[in-house]
Symmetry: C2
DNA sequence: GGCCTTGATTTTGTATACAATTCTGGGCGA
DNA sequence: TCGCCCAGAATTGTATACAAAATCAAGGCC
């Protein structure tokens, strides 16, 4: 959601985001305009706008004296972000149930579920293809649920949280690929998706809330597991924002 | 939370915010850079930054083709924003209970409560003085609760929501002054404050969540009441962002 | 030896000129 | 008459020069 819609402006935000998430700078390290200008090769004006945009995304932090530093988050912050997403998605599921119940409105939601079912049942699809396709459909499901909530305010709030790489609904999907849990995590997630869709369709706001909130908890579980096995730095998106000392 | 910390930059954001909230433009109306430049009397660069900042605050909306328009919210959007604040403050209260229970950590919270008590009991304080002082203490209470939650992520999310004038915790305090409800709304709010503080102190996260969420509902009730009496435009902060046709 | 002051240097903030894009109005043709 | 297209105008996007502020270093002072 960058406020500048021009070609270069978008490119600047994208490039800088890649660099920051890619770990080009240490957390807490100062990121000067001039350095950014030299890195992405355009003038100070769009670079400056990009820095501001990334600050609003939560990747950079604006210093009071001017300039920006790379955000340094703790593991606790990451878990908080995931829990926060859970709370907001729970609210989204509840509002969807209250405002968009019935089979007509939720047809699209069930269509997405069917697509995921086919993906998981298909024996031919394996490896990266499977996970890439799942990520795509997963994002679509969450977006559709949010649409059914009919709340621009909630949409905006959720967008801000999920802009953080480790708080995205699909952040830990690919991590499961390299863990022993493998396909099971996808099956559990899909079970939850179906339950959420049914609760929304039935207009059961209380259950939808509970499920939406609990659905995000699987991501928190994944993060905790990765933390125990020491794979956070390798498998968690945005782990480059993790500050060293506090883990 | 503007990303530009310079004198002029801050002044630009403040001036433009005043103009937008003050109803200088119609909701949905385009706000061109040049117009803004002439209105606040500085060059395009800080004005541009200010426009972006206000877009992130939710007062303006960035158009895909470039430029900005004043946001037009519906009454339903306002109620959603208040409910969203309730959900987030409920989470804050719960986290505070889980992470900062005990009398030592919550001493400041109870101190603020005592100040509000003295304010409400004092017979001498009346009118604007009373309400201004209450607003101040109310904001302090909410800030302290958020501090006890120990969650920068939640803090950021809540800051985004409460940046909207009608979603601020004190948005409807002054409105009560001109309504028949008068002092009662303050007394009820203070009762809820005390209950929240006690739940946090006792480490009762479930009750704290419930109370925090319900506390915001009083604002929603106020808005609904004002809507019935037709006083929204006169007494609700940020009501200038309300689109005409849908009320 | 530590700390403050002061000037040089770097970095950010502002203004403005120029380029590119989008909107507007009129004319032309089907 | 309606739609299309093309210039002109207006507006936004970009680059850069200049001003102000902050950082840093060295030197003097207590």
């Amino acid at each position: 959601m960058p406020t500048t819609r021009s070609r270069q402006g978008l490119a600047a935000v994208r490039k800088l985001r890649e660099l920051v998430i890619g770990g080009c700078f240490k957390p807490g390290e100062r990121l000067s305009e001039l350095a950014a200008v030299e890195l992405i090769g355009m003038s100070r004006t769009p670079v400056r706008a990009a820095l501001q945009a990334l600050a609003h995304e939560g990747l950079l932090e604006a210093r009071s004296n001017g300039g920006f530093v790379v955000c340094d988050y703790s593991l606790a912050d990451m878990l908080d972000a995931i829990e926060l997403r859970g709370v907001l998605e729970g609210m989204a599921a509840r509002l969807a149930a209250e405002r968009s119940s019935g089979t007509a409105a939720t047809r699209e939601l069930h269509a997405i579920l069917a697509q995921i079912d086919r993906l998981l049942d298909a024996a031919g699809v394996e490896g990266d293809d499977l996970y890439d396709a799942y990520v795509e459909l997963n994002e679509t499901f969450h977006a559709e649920m949010l649409r059914l909530a009919q709340s621009p305010m909630l949409e905006r709030s959720l967008a801000q949280v999920t802009a953080l790489p480790f708080a995205s609904p699909s952040a830990f999907v690919k991590a499961g690929r390299e863990q022993e849990v493998n396909r099971n995590v996808l099956i559990v997630a899909q079970y939850q998706h179906r339950a959420i869709a049914e609760a929304i369709t039935a207009g059961d706001g209380v259950r939808a809330l509970r499920l939406g909130q609990e659905h995000a908890q699987t991501a928190a579980d994944s993060l905790k597991r990765l933390s125990r096995t020491g794979d956070v730095g390798r498998l968690v998106p945005g782990s480059t924002l993790l500050r060293r000392d506090t883990g």
